[in-house]
Amino acid sequence: MNKPIRRVAIACLVLFVALLVNANVVQFADAKNYRDKPGNVRTLYAQYDHKRGDIVTSTGSVVASSVQTDDALKYLRTYADALPYAPITGFYSIVYGATNIEQEENSILAGTDDRLFARQLTNLITGRTPQGGSVILTIDPTLQKIAYDQLAGRKGAVVAVDPSTGAILALVTSPSYDPNLLSSHDEAAIKSEWAKLTTDPNNPMLDRALDQTYPPGSTFKLVTAAAALTSGQYNPQSTIPAPTVLPYPNSTKSLKNFAGETCGDGKTTTLIDALTISCNTAFGKLGETLGQDALRKQAEAFGFNSPFNVPMKSATSVFPSNLDDAETIQSAIGQFDVRSTPLQMAMIGACIANGGTLMKPYIVKQLVGPNLAIIDTTKPTVVRQAISAQVAAQLTQMMESVVDHGTGTTAQLPGVKVAGKTGTAENAVGKPPHAWFVSFAPATQPKIAVAVVVENGGGVNDATGAKVAAPIAKAVMAQALKEQP
């Protein structure tokens, strides 16, 4: 009987070999396939199984943190002061994934980053559950709050930047949404909130500061002026043509000034005066003279036609190409197809304030490990010298003039020189224009640069940048200077 027993032994071994091979297939070869299957809650549970790191402002106030729960997902992501910070933190949803800092810095927050490797190794050995590191933002919570409150629910955005570093001090969009409602553990509630937010005509999940472009209107005259000064043909006192009506070449239409006003004597004006009173015809003519290539070159030096990564990737601000003369005239005053994000305009202000050096805007100041060891500190980086220091000084002088006795007097601060430029951008027939203000202060030794846009002037019919946007910028700058005079 031994021969069949031996054969049976072999058959048994074959059964076990089949099991072993199959185990390798399931646990190794096909493992990733199973892990990525929709409905595999393990992957989800693994993410929620340990404490995710905090997102903290520059003063240490926590805006996103994980709290322990007693349901299946062990930690719940909660956002303190959720609405003002929504465009920065983003959300962390079991249904819709993560966005913004939650997504950009996920590896640090989740604790899976290679820079946490040494710690992961000790966790592996000690069997302790890993913890996420924290992200410290450059955001100043007071400025963030003031800017959000100043918008008061109107559609618009505020971006405040430290000109010397590019650190973003405030990044506000309005209206906003509550990421807590998308980060709960209740799938049905999340989905219904999502449906509500995505069908809201005010589009509260749109980050207007980074992801929305607007016609910049007269604030773009800063770029045209920079191009003129850079050409070497002009200085602030240069006399430039300023007709009351500027006919478009090869067209019956013409460009007029705001409310049909005349600039200077109706024939010429100086460059500084043209900017001070925001003379459309003077800048239109100037743009035509400089040509579209000079304008585009200057715009691109400031950052147009490429996105910023803060680390969230911004929308690309556009200076169009292949313009005819009429389009060049319109583009020179920030109309036609010129589009800018509020961040881009803030960076133009910051660049002028920083002696012409454009810094890379950033929102993450530091990454900190779970043991509070600093993993990484963002070093300010120069993007390029967009204009010479001399041109920057000339532009500053012109912008001071705007606030001192021009269109931007509403941004004056007691005892501090403010440099600014208003913008009132037409966008659609029959709708109030977008109100813009780009500024920095103190003009002599700038601490903060701010760009404000209020869509359609917040619904006010005679809205201008001066009336609607400048007071917001003023409030933010006043607070910033109060903190560090």
């Binding site: 021969k3 027993i5 059964l15 076990f16 646990q27 190794f28 892990r35 299957k37 069997g127």
Partner: protein, 472 residues
Amino acid sequence: MTAATPSASTTTATGLVRAMKPRRPRTRRGVELAMLVFAVLIALAAYADVGLTRKHHVPPDTLTYGLGLGALLLVAHLAVRRFASYADPLLLPCCALLNGIGLVLIHRLDLAAPKADRSDATLQLAWSAIGIVAFIAVLVVVRDHRRLQRYTYTAMLVGLVLLAIPSILPARFSEVNGARNWIKFAGFSIQPGEFGKILLVIFVAGFLVAKRDALALASHRFLGVDLPRGRDLGPVLLAWLVSIGLLVRGRDLGMSLLFFGFFIVMLYIATERLSWLLIGLLLFCGGTFVAYHLFAHVRERFEIWLHPFSDPQHSGYQLIQGLFGFSSGGMLGTGLGNGRPDLVPFAKSDFIVAAIGEELGLTGLMAILLVYVIIVTRGLRASLSVRDSFGKLLAAGLSVCLAVQVFVVVGGVMRLIPLTGITTPFLSYGGSSLVSNWALIALLLRISDSARRPAPPPTPRADDAMTQVISR
């Protein structure tokens, strides 16, 4: 040439002397004891690890449990020393290791339960103790496995009754999760099939020893295959009917497969005829085919196996959750206490291998499977070396029983074959399975003891003895 002859003859002579005066084979009990200590230490390390991970400290009762489990196994070891001193030294440690790891995993799953008021691990530990008692009882009562042959038909009767009871009982006394293979009584439930399987192996071994000549020799050739006589097919058909009955009435696909598997293998060993294997396979395939078309629950099992993701939230849920568990374990596993094996329904019983795969990884799972390989090969080794046919058949049947059971459950959980509800020997939560498998191992030890025990010295022939003067 001439010089070589004496030396050669000397060698032969020495060899002859050795053959005539065999050294007593070593009992190997020391090896068994050392391996048992090793097995207990592994289980204790695992228990401490679970405590460290889940509660961040080594459980204070580690030593108590260690001593308890150690004492239990020491008693088993002493019983082997006393009653089966030549028994295989690896069977007991291997089973102890599996039992210990099973306890740790059940304890670990207890901790994951939302309300940890009930400790299945404690209950399982009690069952382990009962299992060891059964193990010792079998060693003590069955002093010679050949005596079991006397109870061939008794074993059949009791075995069939045990198998049949749940199918006959009303569903409320016998149905658990759709399979009617339980007896539920006063808050207490046992799976009689687990005991029935041992009795039926005993019966089949006894039956085949009696009938093997008829089954093996009487035949007619057909298409180059020796076919058995029609009347000899009777018992085979009976076994087939029993397994089909289990499948249909009890919805117990696993036990049906197991039963038919060991029956056909034992038939093949007894007759050394491949034709029996072919007939068995054909019958099984035919039966399965018919059952597939006639019975919805069989069809559903196949559907889940082939397309588990077509209904991931309901019918395919358990299998898919198990597969997710295995895949999340990967090569090295999440580590004890770090995974989510509790997401798999019935993780403590049918799906305990999924918990192993998840937390101990592919490495741990393969190690566990190899422990089963050792047990099965050791059992078959005993079958090969034991001298009597009944012992051979019994040992082979019991070993194959274990092998098929592991294959059916692990293959089912890992989607190699359709999933069937059956326990993983020694690992799964469940008293019946644990106790019956300890009894099964005791039988294998008994057979291996008799296989390795040196033959008693030949009794001197009567006429060689000196004539004794008997004084009255």
